[in-house]
């Protein structure tokens, strides 16, 4: 049986991490390490982990050091999910053959990847893993940009954001396309569990991760990861940005069970205007010029529409 951690409060949570060490090269204020600790803390079971190429990978396994006290593998940018799928397959075989060194364990298989490695270059690999039914969890550390290579747009980069390959300028407001709806796409694979999480809502996240570990089959998690460097905010404000993301409903928290049963898991008591979320980040600064203010209105309309859509789906149980 799975062994899930019972965590009472944030203090206990913050001191109980022991399989992802504090020492890493991630930026001060990076949300990646917070999310990873919250995920790893959700279980006492053994973990087989991967990271696709990106910030998390280059900052946590620089030879001869490692931040990981659980087995961990990195192959390339696109295939971290498939690496874990291969390990999960080998686990099944060795279990069947009675060749596991510790046969009584119940390991969890988790791949971490950024939005570039998930929405773009690794899209096919993740889709394959989800479709084939591996007993694994793929977690996107979604900071909506290629942060590790210096801030290029990905298909997760939202409209109006200034990225180095979709920069704002004299005649451009930056990124022209809206963010890809990856949770919906992954849920459409008919997987047992897909969810969106945010590090500020740690109880919600732990619950979802534990749900994901408890089900048999592939699980997809999209975690918003505010990026101090590319979103351009003060490193001390990471959790404030995460609060803005969830409470403006720019990142609504919900889950989709078996590809169709949608549940909203967090309803902000006071919904904050999207403008405040945009105003808190340098990547949207130019939207506050007079000629682009209509985009802020469009942003709010889009967020409202998506929220209404999620609520309709939840009500209709589809």
């Amino acid at each position: 049986m799975s062994e899930m951690k019972q965590i009472k409060n944030l203090k206990e949570f913050s001191t109980s991490a022991d399989r992802f060490e504090g020492a890493s090269l991630l930026c001060p204020g990076c949300a990646h390490s917070i999310i990873v600790r919250e995920v790893l803390n959700a279980t006492n079971d053994d973990l087989i982990l991967s990271a696709s190429t990106g910030c998390l990978e280059v900052c946590t396994a620089v030879y001869p050091y490692t931040s990981w006290d659980a087995s961990w593998i990195h192959i390339g940018f696109e295939n971290g999910s498939t690496a874990v799928a291969g390990a999960e397959t080998m686990y099944k075989v060795l279990k069947k053959k009675g060749r596991l060194k510790q046969p009584d364990r119940n390991p969890k298989f988790v791949s971490f990847a950024g939005d570039g490695a998930s929405y773009d270059i690794g899209f096919q690999w993740i889709s394959g893993c989800m479709e084939r039914g591996h007993n694994m969890m793929h977690i996107v550390l979604d900071n909506e940009v290629y942060a590790n290579t210096g801030g290029q747009r990905s298909s997760s980069t939202p409209i109006g954001s200034s990225a180095t390959t979709s920069p704002q300028g004299r005649v451009s407001y930056g990124e022209k396309r809206n963010k890809k709806d990856m949770v919906a796409i992954m849920a459409a694979h008919g997987i047992p569990y897909a969810a969106q999480v945010s590090p500020n809502k740690w109880r919600d996240m732990v619950k979802k991760i534990q749900h994901g570990f408890a089900v048999e089959g592939p699980v997809f998690i999209n975690a918003v990861s505010p990026c101090t460097t590319e979103w351009k905010f003060d490193p001390k404000d990471t959790m404030h940005l995460a609060d803005l993301a969830t409470d403006t409903l720019v990142f609504p928290l919900y889950e989709i069970i078996d590809g169709h049963e949608l549940n909203i898991t967090y309803r902000p008591k006071n919904v904050i205007p999207v403008e405040e979320y945009l105003a808190a980040q340098g990547r949207f600064k130019h939207l506050f010029k007079d000629e682009y203010k209509y985009l802020i209105k469009e942003w709010q309309d889009r967020v409202d529409e998506k929220w209404a859509h999620l609520q309709r789906r939840e009500e209709a149980r589809i």
Partner: protein
Amino acid sequence: MAFDKMELKDVEVWDGNYAAAQALRQAQVDVVAAYPITPSTPIVEGYAKFTADGYVEGEFVMVESEHAAMSACIGAAAAGGRVATATSSQGYALMVETLYQASGMRLPIVLNVVNRALAAPLNVNGDHSDMYLGRDSGWIQLDAFSPQEAYDLNLIAFKVCEDHEIRLPCMVHQDGFMTSHTAQGVNTLSDDAAYGFVGEYKPMNDMLDFEHPVTHGVQTEEDWHFEHKARQHNDLMTKVIPKIQAAFNDFEKLSGRKYNIVERYDMDDADVCVVCMGTSVETAREVALEMRAKGIKAGVVGLRVIRPFPFFEIAEALRGVKSIAVLDRSSPNGAAGMLFNEIAGALYNADTKALLSGYIYGLGGRDLTKKHLVDLFNELQANADAGKVTTKLQQFIGVRGPKLAYL
């Protein structure tokens, strides 16, 4: 054991693909992750069917691309078990990124490469373009000239690459269609004898040893990267050939079939010889015997081990030969052929005055005929008689249109 053994006849009629599939079954490979591509597909179909019929206890994972196939093989091998797959041509090209990762992470994986041309233009037939593409990838590369050898070399590959002193992945090559789809008599080993030869898989740095977590696939920059690559090269240069030779010796004791790092045919007193790979070796041997009947002392050298390149064994095999032709079955695209260059490098400081010429042949499955080889041996004899290369250094043979020759 939760699988059934297969009763094989002493001699079975198998093509190269089925012979390789049988070897994967007998080695009781734990995980095969693969993607179909002509002409290698029947190897992994064979493993899938053996699994479905209960003749092997393992998992076949049909992934969504060759890149994913090798990625899953890497994850499975790092987890700690026996892993194999197969591919060809475009699929191999797609896999190249992960080939370097498999070898750099020192993971023993056996990859059957059924050699096929590379597009464009698209072509499903055999040449060595794909085989050449992976030659710097840090894998061991063995070349089978026939279905029998495809069977034997697969068993040998596991034994060599899983050895804890080696821990490098290994490719077993065979020619697309000419070997992969041509059925011949294959001498078999019993399931027990074959598995006994390959041995139990002994994991090392396995991710599934939960008491000893490992980090695979780290970042190394200018402070460590060079040392890692140098160590891998050092093991290829110093450890692999002796280990292959030892495996060949053991295999001969078991089966009576003798393999050599470099295969020599009629080379003891040869004045002229052809160096080649794959199915062409057999054709060249037949023609060499006919040339001997005409008074030309002809011989053939076949490359059994492509990587690590057997410099000393090649120099030894070619000692005393007056005129040598090196046959490359891949478009050199602006250079001398790969094999030509390697042979030239192996001979440069050796005790030889041999004349060296190169031939490009057989691209996209074009036949290498006996007539081509008769003409070629005659050219070699003319070179030997003249004491110099009488033709251009690089010639194309078997291609239509005006004769192409360079250098």
